[in-house]
Amino acid sequence: MKIGKNFSVIVPGLLFAALIAGIIIYRSVSGPSTLNRYTATFLDVFDTRTEIVGFAKSKDEFAKDAQLIKDELIRYNKLYDIYNDYQGVNNIKTINDNAGIKPVKVDPDIISLIEFSIDTYYETDGAVNIALGSVLSLWHKERMIGMDEPDRAKLPDADKLKEAALHTDITNIVIDKENSTVYLADPDMSLDVGSTGKGYAVQRVLEYAREKGLNNILLSLGGNISCIGTRIDGTCFRLGIQNPDMDSEEQYVEMVDINDGECVVSSGDYQRYYYVDGVRYCHIIDPMTLYPADGFASVSVITDDSGLADSYSTALYTMTYEEGLEFVEKRDNVEAMWIMHDGTKKYSEGFIEKYVKK
C-alpha cells in the first residue's frame, strides 16, 4: 500500500511537470516572446520621413539603438544640407555660398560624398550631376510657387535655364583632401546632392550601426530602404514598392524580399511635382534637356549599396527603358523594375526570381 500511495503522488506530479515543460517548450517554439518588434518614426531629418524597424527585449532597449541611428542621420543631414546653415558647421550650403570666393574647410564625410557623387557622374554619363544646382534651383523655386499658388504656376524661363546650364561643369569642383577643403571654381555654380546624399547617408549610417553591433535593423529614409541582417526569425525583410497610381486601391505594385545589406529605392513622378497648364512636371530634371524627365511613372532599383541605388534610380529615370536595361544588365547585383505611365511593369532579368517571393 505504501508504494501505491507514493505512486499516487509521483504520477500526477510527473504529469504536471511534463505539462509545464510542454507549455514552456510550446511557447518558446510558437513565437519569439522575448524579443518584440518596434518601429521608430521621425520627421525631422533630410526633410522626409525616417522609419527604423528593429527587435529588442524592451522599448527602452530599442530606443537606444534607434537613437544611435538617428544621431548619425542628424549629423549627415546637417553636413549635406543645401538650404540651411547650422552654427559651427560648414556644410554643402557653405561651399555653395563661397563659390568663386574661397575654399571651405569641411568634414571628411562631405568630401567622401562629393567624391562618390563625381564617380557616379562619370558612371552614369552625366545623368546624375551634383553640379546641377544652378538649374535645379530654378525648377525648385517655380515648383514651390506652383504648389503654393497654382494660379501663378509657370515653367522657369528657357533662357535662364540655358544660362544656368553653362555653370554645371563638375570639373570645377576642386577638392583638396590634404587640407580637407572644397572649392567651386565657377562663382555661378552650386551643388545639389538631392540624388546622392540621402542614399549615401543611409549606407554610411548602416555601416556605422553594424560596427556598433546592431543587427536585424531596417532603415527607411524617405523611401531609401536598406537593412542589416534579417527579421529576428531569420526571414527576409519584405518591402512594398509604392504604386505610382495613388488613386489605386492597391498601395503596392510589388513586394520584394531583400537580403542583408541590400537596398531599394524608387524614383517617380507621383510625389514631388507641380502642374503648369494641366501638365505635370516632376522634380527629376534630365541634365541633357534641362527639363523634367517623364519617361516612366517610376523606376525602382535594388542593389547592395544604398548610395548607388539612389543615384542609379535617378539615372534610370532619365534614360529610355532600353538604355536603362543595358545599364543594369552590365552590372552585377543590380536589378530594376520600370513602371510605365499606363501601369505596365518591366523588369531586369533577375528581378522577379531574386526578389519577388510569393
Binding site: L43, M147, S220, L239
Partner: protein, 125 residues
C-alpha cells in the same frame, strides 16, 4: 493510484488545453478586430480612432493649417489638407497594421496600430 486521481488529472489537462486554446483564439480575434488609426502631431499623440467606426474630423493646428481625417469602411485616409504638397491627400488609404500617412509640412502622422498585418516591413515612395 485511485480512479479519482486519474479523473482529476484528466480534468486538469482538459481545463489547461481549453485555456490555451481559448487564449490563442482570443489573441487572434483581438489583433484582427482592433485596428486603430493613431494620429500624432509633431510626435505627440493627438487621438486614436477605431477603424471599425466611420468617422470624420477636421484636425486643426494652432497656426491655422489642417488635415481632414476620414475613417470609412475600415480604411483611414486624409481627404483634405492645407499643406502645399498634398502628398498626404494623394496617399492611398491605409488599413493594415503599421501602414501610415504622413503630412510633413503639418508634422502629422496617421499610423494604423493593431489589426491585420500585410506582412510588409516598409515601402518605397
Amino acid at each position: 493510484m485511485k480512479k479519482n486521481d486519474m479523473v482529476l488529472i484528466a480534468i486538469i489537462l482538459a481545463v489547461t488545453a481549453v485555456c490555451l486554446l481559448g487564449m490563442r483564439i482570443w489573441q487572434k480575434n483581438n489583433t484582427k478586430g482592433n485596428a486603430t488609426a493613431v494620429v500624432t502631431i509633431d510626435g505627440n499623440v493627438y487621438g486614436e480612432y477605431p477603424l471599425s467606426e466611420d468617422y470624420e474630423e477636421r484636425i486643426e493646428l494652432p497656426d491655422g493649417s489642417y488635415n481632414v481625417l476620414i475613417i470609412k469602411d475600415g480604411f483611414a485616409k486624409v481627404s483634405e489638407a492645407s499643406c502645399p504638397d498634398q502628398i498626404c491627400v494623394h496617399h492611398n488609404h491605409v488599413k493594415y497594421s503599421g501602414e501610415s500617412i504622413v503630412c510633413l509640412p503639418n508634422k502629422l502622422v496617421v499610423t494604423v496600430q493593431g489589426g491585420e498585418d500585410n506582412g510588409i516591413d516598409g515601402s518605397t515612395y
